[in-house]
Amino acid sequence: MPSSQIRINSLAALIAAALLGLAGCSKEEPKPAAPAAPPPAPTVSVKIGIVAPLTGPQSHIGKDLENAVRLAADDANAAKIMIGGNQLKFEVMAEDDQADPKMAPVVAQKIVDAKVSAVVGHFNSGTTIPASKLYSDAGIAQISPSATNPKYTDQGFKTAYRVVANDNQQGKVVGEYIAKDLNAKTMAIIDDRTAYGQGVADVVEKSAKDAGVKIVAREFTTDKSTDFKAILTKIRSRKPDVIFFGGIDTQAGPMLQQMKGLGIKAQFVGADGIQSSELFKLGGDAVEGTLASFPGLPIEKMGQGKSFNDKYKARFKQDVVLYAPQGYDAFNVFVDAMKRAGSTESAKLLEKLPSTDYKGITGPIKFDDKGDIKDGPITMFKAVGGKWEAVATIGGAAPAAPAASAAPAAAEAPKADAKK
């Protein structure tokens, strides 16, 4: 059922794109009559896969990525990119891995069989890692817009890339932030036992420990749980300054509510998995004051962040949820590599990916020899009045700008607190 629905969606998107293109043409026709006159160039279709959880608890984040890739494909089609005398016509193949590591290889095989040129995805680390083997075997380039577990690029696959900082980079920064900026002496750690949650929690634990923070409790849950009272009660008895959660907003929302019910006052810190607009819906006013890291710049600090959000909103009637800019950039890194390779073949594309130097919405994108992004910035956000506010940006290719902008943002936060 989902596949037929997706097929209809992609068809609708293509028709919409075609109509948009036509509308664009007819508007500009009156002035130069010449360009419309020659027969249209032969088109060659290029299939790009996008795999993310499109159903289940994480579907809102997966759908966000799918939207971003569809938007990127429409833009690329509207740009009428020519390679070897043929105009490229991008087709999006969206598949659902249900955030399930067992489903990921099955879906990946389907994508490989459909002979796509490249894949954007998957969303979760837990699905990206098993799927990457299949793409590697098939020689299909893969860029994950969001998988942050270091293992993904540590496997040595020539096809695996990502456009976000990995957990080692992110977790280290978060751990140090907890120790130095929050001045925490003790902390409790909860993770959801997924590749992502456990991975980031382990790195945070190590980096905070190295910076002198005492870990007073290490608790676990699952990515389907809704009851955290028992582990939170245990944590409460240890009185930590900070609680770090490695997991996704679906758990963090109820967890924050239950913390409030138990009267826990500790500072709640999470990583990119909870840094979404959905958290405010799931956690209500209990979210206020929560800190979360994000491997990238805040969308309002991105050069074209605002115009991207406007464009996204105009098309999908909602704001960017989380990783849409990364998904959009991942698609365009492929387009960029195709242009430089002068071919849409996977093999040619792979040769050109290592030398990528692309200026995306999220910032400059360059890869190191493992396929990780070079100098990916990490931003700490604070939940203030139902919105995420950037309080600090650490690292990044252009440290001057974020550092300057971090100061006023940091000053804003206490002001908002005082208002409350």
């Binding site: 159903t55 289940g56 608890p57 579907s59 809102h60 036992r193 409790a217 290490r218 608790e219 676990f220 849950t221 699952t222 389907k224 749980s225 809704t226 009851d227 009272k229 028992a230 582990i231 009660t233 245990k234 409460r236 008895s237 679906t250 929302g253 109820p254 509510q257 239950q258 409030k260 019910g261 138990l262 009267g263 819906k281 799931l282 956690g283 209500g284 006013d285």
Partner: protein, 309 residues
């Protein structure tokens, strides 16, 4: 000490919900010997229906007080669940009344999947947050905290269970139910309309499930189409633990299971020196079940129901 007390409060709240759902399993089993695996889905339908009603009323902005909103949600969810149980019994189980026991069991699993998918089509696949109509007040109590919602859940569950015991032991309907559970044919010979009694068991169980659904989604602040599965499984475990077919057993089993889960998740890490962590929370329920069944195959209070077949 305050931690232990807090875990007990957590466990009792969770256990009250399990007990309410477990009653639905045990009533139906006690009368026709069917394990109605679709019972968990009734909880889910109850939760989502109540949620939709409350959300709708909250958005309408009539400025109704939270208690009225909750009651309105419940007043819609209960009849919906009861009607659903009625249809379920009529369409899926009654035609199989004389069939071998496996047939209705597998039908029940099928009904469960059908209901889940219908709910997915109606409400979609995403998680719903429970509208924040009720501002939760927290009370301090010997170092532990208890919210008014927890008090409401435990109190309401106790009242409903008391009411059910009263119906079963003090009314004509209850007398007929007990007679039917002892022997369906003989009860029929005594002038009891067995079909009606069976329907009554289904419908009463469904009403309790609707209440449990509202409770659990308000308590955790979240509801989704898949929530009935695990909850149903746990409640079924509770019913078996207490002795399936026995009402008091279901209540005891539910409360015990809630306590075991809360205490287990809270203390296993320390007791085993970190070998087992709180991620084993869901395992305890089944671990304890196996332990109890080895010692008492018919459950804690269920010695009466073993010899009926």
């Amino acid at each position: 000490m305050d931690t232990l007390l807090q875990q007990i409060i957590n466990g009792l709240t969770l256990g009250s919900v399990y007990a309410l759902v477990a009653l639905g399993y045990t009533m139906v089993y006690g009368i026709i010997g069917l394990i109605n695996f679709a019972h968990g889905e009734l909880v889910m339908v109850g939760a989502l229906t109540a949620l939709s009603v409350i959300k709708g009323l909250a958005v309408a902005g009539l400025g109704l007080p939270p208690v009225v909103l909750m009651m309105a949600g419940l007043l819609v969810a209960m009849p919906v669940c009861m009607l659903l149980a009625l249809i379920m019994e009529r369409v899926a189980y009654r035609p199989l009344r004389g069939a071998p026991r496996l047939a209705p069991l597998i039908t029940a699993i099928g009904v469960s999947i059908v209901l889940q998918n219908i709910a997915m089509m109606i409400w979609g696949r995403s998680y719903f947050s429970f509208p924040a109509v009720m501002s939760v007040t927290t009370y301090e109590f010997l170092g532990a905290t208890i919210t008014d919602l927890q008090i409401l859940i435990v109190g309401m569950a106790a009242a409903l269970m008391g009411g059910l015991l009263w119906i079963v032991h003090r009314t004509r309907l209850g007398l007929a139910m007990r007679a039917t559970s002892q022997n369906l044919q003989v009860a029929g010979l005594m002038g009891i309309n067995a079909d009606r009694i069976i329907v009554a068991a289904f419908v009463i169980g469904a009403a309790l499930a609707a209440v449990a659904g509202l409770m659990v989604s308000a308590y955790y602040g979240i509801a989704h189409y898949y929530m009935g599965f695990m909850l149903g499984l746990k409640a079924f475990t509770a019913a078996v633990l207490g002795g399936i077919g026995n009402l008091a057993g279901a209540m005891l089993g539910g409360l015990l299971l809630g306590l075991i889960e809360a205490l287990g998740a809270g203390y296993i890490g320390d007791l085993t020196g970190g070998v087992f962590g709180s991620n084993y929370q869901d395992v305890f329920a089944f671990f304890v079940l196996i332990g109890v069944l080895i010692v008492r195959p018919s459950g804690l209070l269920g010695d009466k129901s073993v010899d009926r077949s």
